[in-house]
């Protein structure tokens, strides 16, 4: 978990996998700072 403490993170989620906002919530609890988050559709 300490891997993300005080780290700036860029999040790219996948609609049919794990969407961006869900990744954001996990990373925030691990101490990361989300600087950009987006969900993309690859199909």
């Amino acid at each position: 978990m300490s891997l993300f403490i005080n780290r700036k993170v860029v999040v790219i989620g996948d609609r049919d996998g794990i969407p961006g906002p869900a990744i954001d919530e996990c990373l925030k609890t691990a101490g990361a700072e989300i600087v950009f988050s987006s969900t993309e559709c690859f199909v």
Binding site: D16, G17, P19, P21, A22, T39, C41, V43
Partner: protein, 515 residues
């Protein structure tokens, strides 16, 4: 009373030149990297029409092969061409590009499509032989113009070139000098959607045997924006396509919700019919030129053919209950709400288990789930994974969490209750609906009882919200209790019994009054 799925059609248009000239991966590459190796190599990676017809997933799409055939053929299909394959199938057809250009012109009511007279002369004899092309449609094909006129329009007047085998054979003119919503590129894109929707409507009439005049409403659920500078996306592509297909008694309206629109539209259609507002509603969509070759960079890099060369289309008829066709359970739909959340668990709960809980059913009580049915032959080489499998695994995982499945059963569940994907990556086209034709057949033959159709949409792509969207409904074997028309085999209907009792009571009242 539930409405029913009365029939459906599925069409593909082979579009290799449209891939090169209209796919946004290619149009973007021409702007940012015009001399790229990719653009140079791409033409060598295009499929011939025969190769597209011999491709197993395309044969499943038009109903000549089944999802079971596809599963039995392993998990890679592009290297296994069928030895014998037909362009026509039980659900529709695969139309070659040159014939589609003539169809495109028949759908152009503003004289914006110009075709080379030699091209028309060469293609017309084959178009004339098409089983759905009648004299009325043929009369809309114009004789053609000299190629110099087309070159002038493309080079000097903002027209969009139309190509066949790399050669300029026509153009689509702009419909306004200034308005970008009516420029040649947009008009071409919208006409392609309209014409492939109209082709789906034509096939649907043939596959269902329903009279054109019986259709009350068409709902178009594609992803194109039809309009001008004052009403971008003003719409009603539905009514435009219905006009081309000759549905004289139909009105139309468009439903837009990115890729989730087909399932939204089917839920709307089912409710409109169940409420008695309309008797026959068709949900239909044409395809997208923009998405052609979306993953072609990876296909070329891996020395594969560029498999995203198919424009897709479909149509489905929702009618009042005939006592036979599969019912759409309008009271038990699933939907992803604004406040649902985005975790896979929240999404699958909203779309799958909430409607099942309302019915008192478990996850395994749905015999077949039709989710995002993108063809993994296309997506896996591009690093986008196997989309249907990812969706099935999420459904199964929720089943494990709810204690309805054992963890060790996940793979068996996805094989039994899922299917491999066979639809082209045309956005709305793969979204839940490709199974409709098989679902009706499978339910009516008794091989399955229930299917859930799930559609998802990437709303965030429009930059108005970070939300995604999803909706679902259940198709179920007809109970036989809901037929509107009296069923002779079932004896006297409930309605008839009530009428007889009422008449007897009136007779009794009359006789008592007389005394």
């Amino acid at each position: 009373m539930n409405s029913v799925l009365k029939g459906s059609s599925f069409v593909l248009v082979h579009a290799p030149d449209m891939l090169i000239h209209g796919g946004t991966t290619q149009t973007t590459e021409r702007i940012v990297n015009p001399d790229s190796e990719y653009l140079r190599k791409l033409p060598e990676h295009l499929r011939s029409f025969e190769e597209a017809v011999a491709y197993l997933p395309n044969q499943v799409y038009i109903g000549n092969k089944t999802p079971t055939d596809l599963a039995a053929a392993g998990d890679v299909w592009f290297d296994k061409p069928l030895q014998s394959a037909s362009r026509f199938g039980s659900f529709g057809e695969i139309m070659p590009q040159d014939e589609f250009y003539l169809l495109l012109q028949t759908c152009d009511v503003f004289d914006l499509v110009m075709l080379d007279k030699d091209f028309v002369k060469e293609t017309l004899p084959r178009f004339e032989k098409h089983p759905l092309v009648d004299a009325e449609l043929l009369a809309l094909v114009r004789e053609g113009v000299d190629i110099s006129e087309i070159e002038k329009a493309v080079n000097n007047e903002g027209a969009e070139g139309v190509y066949q085998n790399g050669k300029l054979i026509g153009c689509v003119k702009k419909a306004h000098d200034i308005d970008v919503n009516l420029n040649a590129e947009v008009i071409f894109e919208n006409l392609i959607s309209k014409a492939s929707c109209a082709l789906s409507l034509m096939h649907f009439i043939k596959t269902t045997g329903v009279e054109k005049s019986a259709i009350d409403l068409v709902l178009d659920c594609s992803e194109e924006a039809v309009g001008d500078m004052n009403q971008r996306g003003g719409g009603n592509l539905a009514k435009a396509a219905a006009e081309s297909a000759g549905f004289v008694n139909a009105s139309g309206a468009d439903i837009r919700a990115f890729c989730a629109a087909p399932v939204h539209a089917l839920i709307h259609a089912a409710a409109l019919v169940a409420s008695g507002t309309y008797e026959n509603v068709v949900v239909a969509a044409g395809g997208s030129i923009a998405k052609l070759g979306m993953n072609a960079k990876d296909h070329v890099k891996k020395d594969m053919k560029a498999l995203e060369d198919m424009v897709g289309g479909f149509a489905a008829l929702i009618s009042k209950n005939d006592g036979v066709s599969p019912e759409i359970l309008s009271e038990f739909t699933g939907k992803h709400n604004v406040g649902t959340g985005s975790s896979p668990q929240a999404v699958i709960t909203a779309l799958v288990t909430e409607p099942l809980d309302k019915m008192g059913l478990k996850i395994a009580d749905i015999d077949k789930y039709s989710v995002e049915m993108q063809n993994p032959d296309i997506t896996k080489p591009a690093g986008a994974g196997d989309v249907p499998q990812a969706n099935y695994k999420m459904i199964a995982a929720l089943g494990v969490k709810r204690g309805e499945l054992e963890r060790a059963e996940i793979n068996d569940f996805t094989a039994k209750h899922g299917m491999p994907g066979w639809a082209p990556t045309q956005g709305h086209i793969p979204s839940g609906v490709p199974y409709l034709g098989f679902a009706r057949d499978d339910i009516m033959s008794g091989s399955i009882k229930r299917s859930m159709i799930v559609g998802k949409g990437s709303l965030f792509l429009g930059r108005m919200t970070n939300l995604f969207d999803g909706v679902s409904f259940i198709l179920q074997a007809n109970s036989g209790a809901g037929a509107d028309a009296p069923d002779e085999q079932a004896g006297v209907s409930e309605h008839a019994v009530k009428r007889l009792i009422a008449e007897s009571l009136r007779e009794l009242a009359r006789s008592m009054g007389a005394e």
